[in-house]
């Protein structure tokens, strides 16, 4: 076992410990902070795998964006120091059993499958990723790129529409009265006799 392997086991223990604490602690704000540590640990795992670009994206988007958003929403909705109510013991036991069985079955399959790692070197570069991302020929990712850009636009507009306070209800009559008022005031102030439709 060399230094690289030891670093990997330390990183993975950190990820799993922080993730487990994020899912079991009963204070919601602490849960968000443990999630932050877990995501930083995953970024460290990407650094260990020498895919620095993904690690940077992970830190920027998850740590800088999503966790901050989650903390904001905690402040907007709950008292952050309050403890969440305890779950019933039957539900906890059932969840633990389900999760352990699922993990056991999945890992058994992974363990038995004989992976054949390639001996070639993994050569990626940001330039390569960029040119393949915008490539329209076979193997290019130009279409998903455009679809994702549309999706982000739609998500942004959707967020604004959902979180916006509903506008005051204005029925047709009130609107007509308002138009009349505007017309009269315009006539008074400017001395204009006719006003085109606003």
């Amino acid at each position: 076992m060399n230094a690289s392997a030891i670093i990997f086991y330390i990183i993975s223990a950190f990820i799993l410990g922080a993730g487990l604490l994020a899912m079991t602690t009963r204070k919601i704000f602490r849960s968000a902070i443990w999630l932050l540590f877990s995501l930083v640990g995953i970024a460290a795992l990407y650094f260990w795998l020498q895919v620095e670009f993904i690690a940077a994206v992970q830190i920027i988007v998850y740590v800088g964006g999503i966790v901050v958003l989650i903390i904001f929403s905690i402040f907007l909705t709950e008292q952050s120091g309050k403890e969440m109510p305890k779950q019933s013991i039957t539900r906890t036991i059932a969840s633990v059993l389900a999760v352990l069985c699922g993990f056991g079955l999945t890992y058994l399959q992974i363990w038995k499958y004989n992976f054949q790692p390639s001996s070639k070197n993994f050569d990626w570069s940001v330039a390569k990723i960029g040119s393949q991302m915008l490539n329209t020929t076979t193997g290019g990712f130009a279409l998903p790129f455009e679809v994702v850009s549309l999706l982000l636009l739609a998500a942004m507009v959707g967020c604004i529409v959902i979180a916006m306070k509903p506008p005051k209800p204005t029925n047709g009559k009130a609107k007509e009265e308002l138009m009349e008022k505007i017309k009269q005031e315009g006539e008074k102030e400017l001395g204009i006799t006719e006003i085109s439709e606003v």
């Binding site: 487990l20 999630l35 795998l49 993904i54 790692p117 959902i162």
Partner: protein, 104 residues
């Protein structure tokens, strides 16, 4: 570099996935459920990158899928939080058990 076998890295991602599942089963608070979903998506990302690096090092598809998943996760988190805040305004609670008006 390949001092750690592939199955050990897959152990980490599988364990992280099922930790997220555990959180999704036990938590009844919408924000913490959202955190569980983020953990699950992250474990999938680890899988994509590791498979790309160990099994198909001459291609970049795993990296592209990871980038797209991260993008979609960001959009999904933003939408979910907008919905949660709107629900909190109308119900004064973000417990999934209490938001049962459209259930039946």
């Amino acid at each position: 570099m390949n001092s750690v076998p592939l199955s050990h890295i897959l152990f980490v991602s599988t364990a992280l996935f099922f930790i997220g599942m555990y959180g999704l089963f036990t938590r009844r608070n919408m924000i913490t459920m959202l955190m569980a979903i983020e953990l699950i998506l992250n474990s999938v990302n680890i899988n994509f990158v590791v498979f790309n690096k160990y099994l198909y090092p001459d291609r970049l598809d795993g990296i592209f899928f990871t980038i797209f998943i991260i993008t979609i996760a960001a959009a999904e988190a933003a939408i979910a939080i907008a919905i949660i805040i709107n629900l909190y305004r109308s119900h004064r609670s973000i417990d999934v058990e209490k938001a049962s008006e459209m259930k039946y």
